[in-house]
């Protein structure tokens, strides 16, 4: 039974005590967070903070060492196919079948997702046109630039209009036009009040513009969470930027100053 129909509206995403371990290293440590309907949730953190590991466990690429991941109430471990059917995922690196063309790749994805042929065709045409992929639509992916590959992944993620979008550094490699398109699209995407977006980024100004709430990860632990306004209350100054709040919560502000001083000396 669909958990949504049984218990009323459920959260697009809920992580409870999620842990991810690689060998001896704990990448994510008992992380709990939720993405609410109509919300864009930004996951912020330095390199190696655990953002990608969190996202990979949401989309089923990494098996959690502990805790649960629920997508619209479906347990990602026990009901993996139901979970994956509700997610559109843009990976951090280009995970594509390089020997296929975008056309062939999208046909494969729409076949696997069992999309209605006419709707899939219409949606593809609109997305490909919007992201200006028409020229490269029948070229092998191996010959495409990083930005174009990223656009193919974005189109594949949006093809089935998923109720949850999970985006790992989705704006990497995009040109200014596509960047703007993507930002506007995300803002519009959650406006119906039922969908959710989880995305990770290093770009504080993008997070500041787009996210309703952000979570700040540091060494796999959530150091702070909330809207920009609520985080400011915990920040050093009343009008602090998200970058300043981030550095303050991860206790990196002193470290940055020390590193700069050291570089100036040499």
């Amino acid at each position: 039974m669909d958990p949504a129909s049984a218990n009323g509206p459920v959260l697009p995403l809920r992580l409870d005590e999620l842990s991810v371990v690689y060998g001896e290293r704990k990448a994510v440590d008992r992380l709990s967070l939720e993405v609410r309907p109509g919300e864009i949730y930004g996951l912020l953190g330095s390199n190696g903070a655990g953002k990608s590991s969190t996202i990979k466990s949401v989309v089923g690429l990494v098996r959690p060492a502990g805790g649960t991941v629920r997508v619209f109430g479906f347990d990602s471990q026990k009901e993996a196919l139901a979970t994956k059917a509700r997610i559109g995922y843009v990976p951090e690196t280009s995970m594509l079948y390089e020997a296929l063309t975008p056309h062939e790749f999208l046909e494969f994805v729409s076949g696997v997702r069992r999309l209605d042929p006419q709707r899939a065709a219409d949606r593809t045409r609109d997305l490909v046109t919007a992201f200006r992929l028409t020229d490269e639509f029948d070229e092998p992916i191996a010959s495409l630039s990083n930005g174009t590959r990223q656009k193919v992944l974005v189109v594949a993620a949006l093809l089935h209009q998923p109720p949850l979008l999970v985006l790992d550094e989705p704006l990497n490699h995009l040109d200014p036009r596509s960047l703007r398109l993507m930002k506007d699209l995300l803002a519009q995407y959650v406006k119906n009040g039922t969908r959710g977006v989880l995305f990770s980024t290093h770009a504080m100004e993008v997070a500041e513009q787009l996210c309703h709430r952000v979570g700040i990860l540091d060494h796999g632990v959530l150091r702070g969470e909330g809207s920009l306004a609520s985080l400011r209350e915990r920040g050093a100054e009343g009008d602090a930027t998200l970058e300043e709040i981030f550095l303050h919560l991860t206790q990196e502000d002193e470290g940055v100053r020390a590193a700069l001083a050291s570089l100036e000396r040499t």
């Binding site: 196919l81 995970m95 063309t101 994805v109 696997v112 045409r125 639509f137 092998p140 010959s143």
Partner: protein, 555 residues
């Protein structure tokens, strides 16, 4: 000094190449959750094992050839239906050996080259402050390291074993032949690899272009078919050689003497027995010696060309001209199983290693179908040959499981984020394997329809074996996906994952062979009984394996 620096660079680069070959990280795969140094050392050892396996197979073939050479007088005079002069027989065996060496090494090169290119090792080195000659030499060493054990095995073992079988001078005389064979194989791999990047991997999508791409693949896979084709056609080759030898000096033999590798394979026999040992006509010996020198010089030229071309090939991105007026995007959506099947076919159409495997049973069916057709209307012969062709196709199909699994491993990470059950994935691949078997069988029947005197027996045989082919594919894919699920172990291509591919093929081979054994066991009975027994065994293995592999899992 540049070579020393290049060697040092190539050591680091080869570690990266091994790592990418096994884990395909740059192609978007996820690493198993283990310590990186352990993964790196495992990658190096897996590549080494695969090279050792290829070297072992080549060594085994060379040993087999040497044993035949050692017993040449017995085999040539006593075992063959029509006796053949011993020196001519020796030349024939060495020709076969050199041909197989070229084909096998070339085929290995086709398997390795996509990894060499997709690993992207050379583009990483290129922007570093390294001078051009050092980069070129690094590229050469890196390429050679992919083949080092197999090549060393051939260069050392062939002269040694031929020397032991025929005498030390013969061992020395085969050196130019084996050296040329090695260089040709590596150069052919590079030439076809470059062609692959430009015309096949870089080919745009669309129905007409897909047909053109498969045509290109057939064109240059046909020579690589030599390994298998030579084994299939060996009796015909020795038959022709016997006829030529019996006819005495002739233009035909002189023409053979001018061909590769016959000319270079003749040198040991000439050294040991003198010119009179071979039935060459006036000027024939000169032709043979000039051809040998020519082929050796060509090999030297090819080696020099490789020295320049490897860096260029390693850096070439597949280039495609953009059409002036691109057509509006359309999409045809199908079911999940069919989507997997079509995706695999499309990927194979741009990946020669996989295309080769798909085309192998089909080309074999064409070759054996033609043989059947040429066999004449002798009762029973046509059907026997046709059944042989189907048997070969069924047994070859057991190598497809690992191959199609290897296709999936590329970008497997993305596939795992889609709502695609393992069952649909396996079914898509098994459907393709079944289709290839049926196409091969259909081709045999189409070509040899006039010679198959018992078409119903043939059709019954094909149908009875079909469940076993499917069961074998299911078993292999079931094992491989289970291994991938539990250990996150990718198998990037058949060269780097050779051990796993070979080990997994053994149970598959047993399952596919069991009905054939049943057919043989009941051969003395009427065909309906033999085929019935075969069908029972095949259906039994399918009933045992299918529920186990295709059962629904929690996800």
């Amino acid at each position: 000094m540049a070579w020393r620096a290049a060697y040092r660079l190539s050591r680091v680069a080869f570690t990266e190449l091994s790592f990418q070959a096994i884990y395909a990280f740059r192609q978007g795969n996820l690493l198993p959750p283990e310590d990186a140094s352990k993964l790196s050392s495992r990658a190096r050892s897996r590549v080494l094992q695969s090279k050792a396996l290829v070297a072992g197979l080549l060594g085994f073939l060379t040993l087999g050839g040497a044993l035949i050479l050692h017993n040449a007088s017995y085999v040539a005079v006593r075992l063959l239906a029509n006796p053949i002069p011993v020196p001519v027989f020796q030349v024939g065996v060495l020709t076969a050996l050199l041909s197989i060496d070229v084909a096998f090494l070339w085929w290995t090169g086709l398997q390795v080259l996509p990894t060499f290119l997709s690993a992207g090792v050379l583009p990483v080195l290129e922007p570093l402050p390294i001078d051009g000659p050092t980069l070129r030499q690094t590229a050469v060493i890196l390429y050679l390291r992919l083949f080092d054990l197999p090549v060393l095995t051939l260069l050392v073992l062939t002269p040694l074993l031929v020397g032991l079988a025929l005498g030390p001078l013969a061992g020395l005389a085969i050196l130019p032949g084996i050296a040329a064979a090695v260089v040709y194989a590596l150069a052919l791999a590079l030439v076809t690899g470059r062609f692959f990047i430009r015309r096949v991997q870089g080919s745009r999508g669309g129905g007409g272009r897909t047909i053109l791409r498969w045509t290109y693949l057939v064109l240059w896979i046909v020579p690589a078919f030599g390994l298998f084709g030579f084994v299939t056609l060996a009796p015909a080759f020795f038959g022709a050689l016997t006829s030529l030898a019996a006819a005495g000096p002739s233009a035909g033999f002189d023409a053979l003497g001018a061909s590769f590798p016959f000319s270079l394979a003749s040198l040991p026999a000439l050294v040991m027995n003198g010119a009179s040992a071979l039935p060459v006509g006036d000027g024939g010996l000169e032709i043979l010696l000039a051809a040998s020198a020519g082929y050796f010089l060509l090999a030297v030229g090819a080696a020099r060309w490789m020295g320049r071309a490897i860096r260029e090939v390693g850096m070439t991105p597949p280039g495609v001209p953009v059409p002036a007026d691109p057509s509006p995007p359309t999409l045809r959506t199908t079911g999940a199983v069919y989507a997997v099947l079509v995706k695999d076919l499309r990927m194979a159409s741009r990946t020669p290693g996989y295309a080769f495997l798909i085309l192998l049973p089909i080309l074999d069916a064409v070759a054996l179908g033609l043989l059947t057709f040429l066999s004449g209307p002798r009762p029973g012969t046509g059907t026997s040959l046709a059944l042989g062709a189907v048997t070969t196709a069924a047994l070859l199909a057991t190598f497809f499981g690992p191959a199609f699994f290897a296709i999936e491993v590329v970008a497997y990470s993305y596939g795992r984020t889609l709502p695609l059950s393992e069952r649909s994935l396996v079914l898509g691949k098994v459907s393709l394997i079944g289709a290839i078997y049926l196409v091969a069988a259909g081709l045999v029947l189409a070509i040899a329809v006039l010679r198959v005197d018992q078409p119903l027996v043939f059709i019954g045989f094909v149908a009875a074996e079909f469940p076993a082919v499917i069961a074998a594919a299911l078993l292999e894919l079931g094992i491989l996906f289970r291994r991938a699920r539990t250990r996150g172990l990718p198998l990037v291509n058949l060269y780097t994952g050779a051990w796993v591919a070979v080990l997994v093929s053994i149970p598959g081979l047993l399952v596919a062979a069991a009905p054939l054994v049943a057919f043989e066991a009941f051969h003395a009975y009427p065909p309906s009984v033999a085929i019935g027994a075969m069908a029972l065994v095949a259906l039994g293995s399918f009933a045992l394996i299918a529920p186990f592999v295709l059962r629904k899992r929690g996800s």
